[in-house]
Symmetry: C2
Subunit: 226 residues, 2 copies
């Protein structure tokens, strides 16, 4: 007798993964690389985007802005003349605290995938839930600002563990705060050994070249075998 | 015919409110005032607690520490010799990004309610979901640090709208950053007109006296009619 076994989708994260894979396929077909860009509120994601989106030679960048409410970050990026799509998570009482694959899927028809090579998705400012939901990205990048303290990798390990790159931002403030950069790097290493880090300042431009280079390399990366 | 109408509990937030009311009753019976203390990661909640928990004349303070994982903040407070209870939200994959009423309820048997007058619940660092879940508190206080930028009230309005007090922390850094305090106050006023604010620095101690005074007043506040 012929028997077929079908394993059912088990929970919300499984369903999310299914949709993320579909997103991934759409992005691959369009040859668009996707970065899931995450941080705590106010760590400097938008400022770090302002520094790079127009200055990646040969790479056409688009941005998908995820916010609970409003379009402040999209407005900030408007003058850079790159395509920016706004996604709000606020249909319910207080809004979702993260993007998930289905929200990104709903935005795909509005994305100019033919006109870009690299899509940067600015997630909702939050160090917990965004790390739990794949959206169909090629890489995850997080920003950790030095004003947040050295303990964040130990308190929010999943976020640090699932990123390929950690941007350590606001290093121009190091002279004015009690902060031990070596201790932060040690703590990052505890939860994600050998993850790449770039110390930078969106304000002074320090380290921004390395961040730009990292994105250029990602954009030219060969398609990964899924 | 006798008819009785029972309105069913409608959703997760209703269930949460039911449990929050039960918590509230327990705290009232013990004559303990409760503060739900919230902010983005790294805004300085623990540092602002370190400044006040031992120095409230006539008020015996206890702390309930909510974290995704670990006990770093509880450890920081240990030397202050006030009762600290740790609550971790990490049973699932990445952990819950907020405390809810049921989590706090599960901690009540571990709280020394007879020995304290004021319980400060340090919520998970997050500007979205903690604002959606009542835990049985008398008051909500949030910390917004100046390094996070002026736009946070507009991006996370529910958090600012549901707090009675906004502590504007890290003002010792104002000289070193591009930040317009008037603009932040204006944005706070847009989403929560006339909410009380205190500008402060856990590092220099500026404004900490006003924060202490606010807590003392809360602790001596007459029981609100529920």
């Amino acid at each position: 007798m012929h028997r077929t076994k079908v394993t059912v989708v088990e929970d919300a994260l499984d369903a999310n993964n299914t949709i993320a894979t579909a997103n991934r396929a759409d992005f691959d077909r369009a040859a668009v690389k996707v970065v899931n860009f995450m941080s705590a509120p106010g760590a400097g994601k938008t400022a770090l985007l302002e520094q790079v989106v127009r200055e990646l030679p040969g790479v056409r960048v688009g941005v998908l802005e995820g916010d609970v409410q409003g379009s402040l970050d999209a407005d900030r990026l408007a003058h850079l003349h790159v395509p920016v799509t706004q996604l709000n998570t606020d249909p319910s009482f207080g809004g979702e605290c993260h993007l998930d694959a289905n929200m990104v899927r709903s935005a795909i028809p509005s994305l100019p995938l033919r006109d870009i090579d690299l899509l940067i998705v600015e997630n909702v400012g939050n160090l917990v839930c965004p790390a739990e939901f794949k959206i169909g990205e090629d890489a995850r990048v997080m920003v950790c600002s030095v004003t947040e303290g050295e303990d964040k990798p130990l308190k929010y390990p999943l976020m640090f563990r699932t990123c390929e790159l950690v941007l350590i931002n606001k290093i121009d403030l190091l002279a004015h705060i009690e902060f031990d950069l070596e201790r932060l790097l040690y703590n990052i290493d505890q939860v994600h050994p050998d993850v790449e880090t770039i110390s930078c300042s969106a304000r002074t431009g320090e380290g921004v070249g390395a961040w730009r280079e990292w994105l250029s390399l990602l954009a030219s990366r060969e398609e990964a075998v899924a």
